[in-house]
Symmetry: C2
């Protein structure tokens, strides 16, 4: 509950139409994609960077918690106000594309711009912004930077951090800083932009983002391979990637995922297959496309691919990707609730990881459909619960075993979703007390009063 | 001067053959490429990470300064022991390539491995490590990470930070931490590896580096364009880069640099040219090479290129690159001492930057030959002094004007060389008091007793 005097100050600061403490607003900002529910004490919509600065300076002085929020589409509770305080939303006012600099292949945006809107806008200029998280239709670029969002195109084009050239941000003290430059090379001062990326809103509020763009590749083509076993498919992935071909995407569905999509949509998918791989290549000249597809076909077939087809037109392209795009919603045929995590391992460890997931599925007697971004070793593991009330604890134990396996294979707790609340308790699996101590020192250096998104990331 | 008891402890710790306080050793480790001279109190060669940990723990307890050092090839004094203390050198023992993981396209190395040795080794496996600083024959990968080294291939392939997947490092307390993973996607915990890169040995001692590798491109070809004015050449650069072609390198020499190389080596270079651009493209199929060269030729000729030639074989390839490779040593024809800085601006601001450098050269009546990496906006500006004793102060004022111009054009003080000592006094040109304050807080979080490479970066 916010003190009356604080509410009055903040309302005066941003205007009564940008600060709310009514039930409807609090409820609307109590959720994210985890479906967990924490009511904030207020919701504030800064109009600009100066507002953010004044809000933070005031809240820092009065020790009022601030939880920065983009679209609230995160999977790990990063934008939930777990102990009250204010949700600071960049949605309402700070959603402008400020500049598309065609000469330098750079754009400047406010944090509330929706990822897909930005992609569409730069494509009008023949440019290309590769990071494409599954949430791209909802999630904001500010949220993408805070979580270091990935996506399907990461295999070739990398992730959000590979496109952030500079940030403007507001420290908890209210001080406004710039970090990074519009230049590819910049080694003056500590890499503050580097540490703000993926910091989950715990270190500063991002107020402006300078992003690198690419020229849009002229040509692209997709292909699909059917494999009788998941192990062969995973071996085909890393052998293809090690051969010198760099596909834009290299995605997979396991047997359970294939069956689920087929049950829902009747598309004639190979329901007996152990796995399918769906891939896309791009380039500037047709010979480059042809060479890449030949190499992929060669490595697929050398590793047990029984059927290989390339898309010959846009319709076939869409058809090939249909199963992958609809996997997430289809697997609910196995249960009402899913425990959905994004463990990531080095590519060559994918066969070992998925074998272990299969074993855990049998031991716990729970279906665990898997799909995802094999090109970068990032697997979406879904433990499905038909009776969540009874099975939740068992499911969580199974997930913990999967995390342990990923870490043992030199992988990570999270490839894309972040830690937030959901994975906070697993941090000691992956980090030593010394490393956790360093994280706390860094948090302290930026936010000595711990007002910014506290109680997250296991800190 | 190191206390007797400290010397004894450290000598016992690493062995008498790995710890020295004699004049010869101190002198040998008093220099870097700046030619400045600061005698340390001792030189220590840790045998492994455990040694580094124990050295740091002891020195932290006793407030003994530690200056980490690779090959000492830096241009800004980053490895100079400006107030005594110990130089900690990774040269002698910590120079092993630990793993080349062909399946995952990853290598693990110790910090003392020489960049070029590493490039050569991975190329034996058909792999490719792109960062190629001019110091590649001497500089270590540990130094490259600490300075975030660039190079000629940055236009297409980026810089050191784009290849660092994970680090092991020792904090000033002696605690050993790991940061990052062998996975492309990893968003668990703060991006500590991100802030250690380019931290110039001020935050931790890097003990192991995990680097991303690429498959080596099968084909490459170079070309050169002659321009009558520097302005046209710079416009050709950014227009080519904005067109969708991504050359591996796009290098330039201005008229003074061309004349200097010609005077030294008599290669038949176009000494009346305002500038030459030398570029290289690579790829997997010949049509891709041909398309890129056609596009480059088109954009060069549309922007005043009077002569364009492509290399038809290795000899011609070497010839094209000869002028660029020998520019740095040749420009000494204009003076005994050079003030050599690496200002960087967004590519489209190159014409404005070089026009201003020309003006400053006239005003101060000093020759300022320029060459460098125009593909990424990184220009090596060389103020040449014939009588350093008389001209030094004038040269420094001229350089300060150039820095101010670069910053005004949204550029940076340093694209590649770092800040160290040499550029420390210019930090307030580029950073606000708030930003400098944040750098100090970060330094404090890692190194509360300020024992690690203190008095650098203007901190």
């Amino acid at each position: 509950m916010l003190e009356e005097s604080h509410a009055k100050y903040l309302s005066n600061l941003v205007g009564a139409d940008n600060f709310f403490t009514d039930k409807a607003h609090l409820s609307a900002y109590a959720y994210d994609a985890t479906r967990e529910h924490y009511l904030p004490d207020g919701v504030i919509f800064p109009r600009n960077e100066q507002d953010i600065s004044q809000i933070l300076a005031y809240c820092n002085q009065h020790r009022i918690i601030i939880v920065p929020r983009g679209a609230g589409s995160g999977f790990t509770g990063g934008s939930l106000s777990v102990r009250g305080g204010l949700v600071l939303s960049v949605e309402k006012h700070m959603d402008q594309i400020l500049e598309i600099d065609q000469k330098n292949l750079i754009a400047r945006v406010q944090p509330g711009v929706i990822n897909k809107d930005f992609q569409n806008e730069v494509e009008k200029y023949g440019l290309f912004y590769p990071p494409d998280p599954a949430s791209q239709d909802q999630s904001t670029l500010g949220g993408n930077v805070s979580e270091n969002a990935g996506g399907m195109r990461a295999a070739k084009y990398g992730i959000t951090k590979d496109y952030v050239m500079a940030l403007r941000a507001v420290l908890p003290s209210g001080q406004i800083i710039r970090a990074g430059k519009k230049t590819i090379k910049d080694v003056a001062g500590f890499n503050v932009a580097g540490i703000l990326i993926a910091s989950e809103g715990c270190l500063a509020v991002i107020s402006e983002i300078t992003l690198k763009l690419l020229a849009k590749p002229k040509l692209k083509q997709s292909a699909m391979g059917v494999f009788s076993s998941i192990k062969e498919a995973m071996e085909a992935v890393y052998k293809t990637m090690a051969s010198g071909v760099v596909p834009v995407a290299m995605e997979f569905l396991d047997n359970l995922s294939i069956r689920a999509v087929e049950e829902r949509f009747k598309k004639g998918l190979p329901i007996e297959a152990g796995a399918i791989l769906i891939t896309q290549v791009d380039g500037s000249v047709s010979e480059q496309i042809a060479w890449q597809l030949q190499e992929i076909e060669k490595h697929f077939k050398a590793n047990g691919c029984t059927d290989f087809k390339t898309a010959q037109n846009t319709t076939e392209e869409e058809d090939l990707w249909f199963a992958r795009r609809n996997a997430s919603q289809s697997i609910t045929v196995y249960g009402r609730k899913k425990l959905n995590e994004d463990v990531t391992v080095p590519r060559a460890s994918l066969p070992a990881l998925l074998e272990e997931v299969g074993r855990i599925s049998q031991v716990y007697n729970l279906p665990i459909p898997c799909f995802g971004h094999t090109g970068d070793g990032n697997v979406h593991v879904n433990i499905m619960l038909e009776n969540p009330e009874e099975q939740l604890e068992k499911g969580q134990r199974a997930m913990e075993e999967i995390f342990k396996c990923a870490v043992a294979l030199e992988g990570t707790l999270s490839g894309e979703h972040g830690i937030g609340l959901s994975k906070a308790k697993f941090m000691p699996l992956a980090f030593s007390p010394e490393e956790m101590g360093l994280f706390r020192s860094i948090k302290q250096a930026f936010d000595p009063n711990n007002i910014l998104n506290p109680f997250k990331m296991g800190l």
